[in-house]
């Protein structure tokens, strides 16, 4: 069936790209790294050709997904993950506990962003701004004015929502990629304001002495008890998101993503639905931000850069757009993997970027995502 490729094809598909890679990498990377890059390119092309030959460019269903398909298996998996998550803080040392808490933060963020990117297909490149607004709201209210954690928590979520409304009203009219750029712009403006509004945010130095959350009988939460608090929030968030998916409101989003004209024709106010999703997504980001600030006990503009937005976006994409379990898996993978690859710390972002590109090439719907 497969014919032997001619020397010419071999040359143009394998040798030429590899040599080319070596040639252009050499001035930047030096000889040995350029050779490595060329070999890497060669390996990449071989994998690419094998995969595309085998099943066309798009592959249908992954094995993993087929197994997760049956609802009993899904339920068992959820129970197992929940049990593991509840047991984990008891078993982990303080370093691992930190990583685990970090996983939880990113899960909150990725799930929040997923409402827009996954459910509605709207790309928000400034999502981290809402995280920042939540964090700063809490830091200012708690550290400056001594307002209690729980009130400040609500305020942080609300502040992010209100701000998102200001962004959503004008930008939601824009076409897809323009929306992405506009949100990126808003995100950057927020960071620049954090950096320069000295009287409110203390500029680049940030705000220190942010208090921990406080609960009656337990007192200030730290370490393990703090992790459990965040875990509770994640569970609550997942619960709400699952419920939204199962109801009318979740179906509006599906309808809008699939066909906006038809949605309008069955009476759905698409603009209003998008706006509410935008605000809800920001609310989750804001709440996560409050928790983040109370964990760090410190906020500064450096935590809310563009690359963080991209990082959260990558979690949504990796796990599976629109799929709650997938997005959580994505967050877990992208936080834990770099920790395991500590020796490759320099290459971390490089690998991460390659991951984004390869995902788009082979599995744009994500590891667990449904093919759209």
């Amino acid at each position: 069936m497969t014919s032997v490729p001619s020397i010419r094809t071999l040359f143009t598909t394998y040798v030429l790209p590899a040599v080319w890679t070596a040639a252009i990498a050499f001035p930047i990377m030096g000889f040995s790294r350029a050779t490595a890059a060329a070999l890497f390119m060669l390996a990449g092309i071989i994998v690419f050709t094998v995969i595309t030959r085998r099943r066309g460019l798009r592959r249908p269903h992954g094995l993993l997904r087929a197994r997760l398909e049956s609802s009993r298996a899904v339920r068992h998996a959820w129970v197992f993950v929940l049990a593991a998550a509840i047991a984990a803080p008891l078993l982990l040392n303080s370093y691992s506990l930190d990583v685990f808490t970090s996983v939880l933060f990113y899960m909150m963020l990725a799930l929040g962003l997923n409402l827009l990117v996954g459910d509605l297909g709207l790309l928000n490149l400034g999502y981290i701004a809402f995280y920042g607004i939540g964090a700063y709201t809490y830091a200012i209210l708690a550290a400056r004015f001594g307002i209690s954690f729980w009130i400040a928590l609500a305020a942080g979520g609300a502040a992010a929502s209100v701000f998102s409304l200001i962004i959503a009203i004008p930008t939601l009219r824009l076409r897809g990629d323009y929306l992405a750029i506009a949100t990126l712009g808003f995100g950057e403006i927020v960071r620049i304001v954090f950096n320069n509004w000295d009287s409110l945010t203390n500029g680049p130095n940030g705000i220190m002495n942010v208090p921990r959350p406080w609960l009656p009988w337990i007192g200030f939460l730290s370490g393990m008890s703090f992790t459990y608090l965040v875990l509770c929030f994640v569970i609550l968030q997942v619960y709400v998101l699952v419920r939204i998916k199962q109801c009318r409101f979740g179906r509006y989003a599906v309808a809008i993503r699939e066909n906006e004209r038809a949605s309008a024709m069955v009476g759905i106010n698409t603009y209003a639905v998008k706006t509410v999703y935008f605000m809800l997504s920001a609310f989750f980001g804001g709440v996560a931000g409050v928790l983040f600030a109370s964990k760090q006990m410190f906020v500064s503009p450096d935590s809310f850069t563009f690359i963080e937005s991209v990082y959260v976006l990558a979690m949504v994409i990796l796990g599976g757009m629109g799929n709650i379990a997938g997005v959580m898996l994505g967050a877990f993978t992208l936080v834990v993997l770099p920790e395991l690859l500590r020796g490759f710390v320099v290459y971390r972002m490089l690998i991460f970027a390659l991951l984004l590109i390869t995902m788009m090439l082979f599995r744009p719907e994500g590891l667990l995502g449904k093919k759209a």
Partner: protein
């Protein structure tokens, strides 16, 4: 008044560079409707290309314009090579996917190139040789203009004129226009769409490379991270002039440079970088087709 004129001169200098980079965004968007996020990095790579040439020829304080020309050529070719590679290896395989996928790939390519250069060249700033010819300043009634600024302006102007001739007077230029109007029909009349797209990337990247070297001389140093902000600003310039419109990108770049420089002087220097974003958002909201655009975007 002196301050005003000085800021106008500084603004035009920065604006010429934005315009050069903006051209790449606008050409690529015009032809495949992709916001090429990696374009800022192509500009940064150009700056490193110039640096490498300077090291190779052993440039020193007294080197002349020949060295500068050599550095610009080096930066240009390196950028072209990288621009072409990004197109071939990252964008081409998924050109028919959704716009969301393409945009995310572009984002990935941008982060990849940034870290690629960081690994190869280190994270710290690298300095360009300070050339005596470039630092000569003319002082006209208290307003100072350096040879460097004149050079940037002149090179940008010359390159844009050449580009205008290329697009409007050559077969390849016509083919580019045809593909951006309607790729399917262009293919039917025998235009090799793939080649045209590649050429667009090469030309756009070359312009960014030249801009990178110019900025290297102007600020005296380069860093792997300079592409992000410059890229966003240049993109703003492209949108300002109407994305897809080559002359619009030139005017948009100059305008953005001016607004930024005057804004920093008269409003607040702390928010200099925010001006570009604010202008970007305002334009997207009020007139997404750009200042000179006709239709609705």
């Amino acid at each position: 008044m002196k301050i005003f004129i000085q800021q106008v001169i500084n603004g035009l200098t920065a604006g010429s560079v934005y315009a050069l980079i903006a051209l790449g965004y606008t050409m690529v968007y015009g032809i495949i409707e992709l916001i090429n996020f990696a374009h800022g990095e192509i500009y940064m790579i150009g700056a490193y290309g110039g640096l490498l040439v300077l090291a190779l020829v052993g440039a020193h304080h007294t080197s002349g314009f020949g060295t500068i020309l050599l550095a610009m050529t080096g930066g240009m070719f390196l950028s072209m090579a990288y621009g072409l590679s990004v197109e071939k290896f990252a964008y081409k395989p998924i050109r028919n996917s959704s716009r969301l996928s393409l945009l995310i790939t572009a984002l990935g390519a941008s982060i990849f190139l940034q870290n690629f250069v960081m690994i190869g060249q280190g994270a710290s700033d690298k300095s360009y040789v300070s050339l005596a010819v470039l630092n000569t300043a003319f002082n006209i009634h208290g307003v100072s203009v350096t040879v460097n600024q004149v050079l940037i302006f002149a090179v940008a102007l010359a390159v844009m004129l050449l580009l205008d001739l290329f697009v409007n007077r050559t077969m390849t230029g016509w083919a580019m226009k045809a593909v951006s109007q309607d790729p399917v029909t262009a293919q039917l009349v025998g235009i090799n769409v793939n080649t045209v797209i590649s050429i667009t990337f090469i030309v756009g990247s070359g312009l960014a490379g030249v801009a990178g070297v110019l900025i290297g001389f102007y600020y005296g140093m380069v860093n792997f991270s300079i592409g992000y902000l410059a890229g966003i600003k240049a993109f703003t310039a492209a949108v300002l002039g109407g994305i897809g419109d080559i002359r619009g990108a030139m005017v948009g770049g100059l305008l953005l440079g001016l607004m930024e420089s005057l804004g920093a002087a008269y409003i607040s220097p702390d928010y200099k970088d925010a001006f570009a974003f604010i202008i970007l958002i305002l334009i997207l909201l009020i007139k997404p087709s750009g200042l000179f655009g006709k239709g609705q975007a």
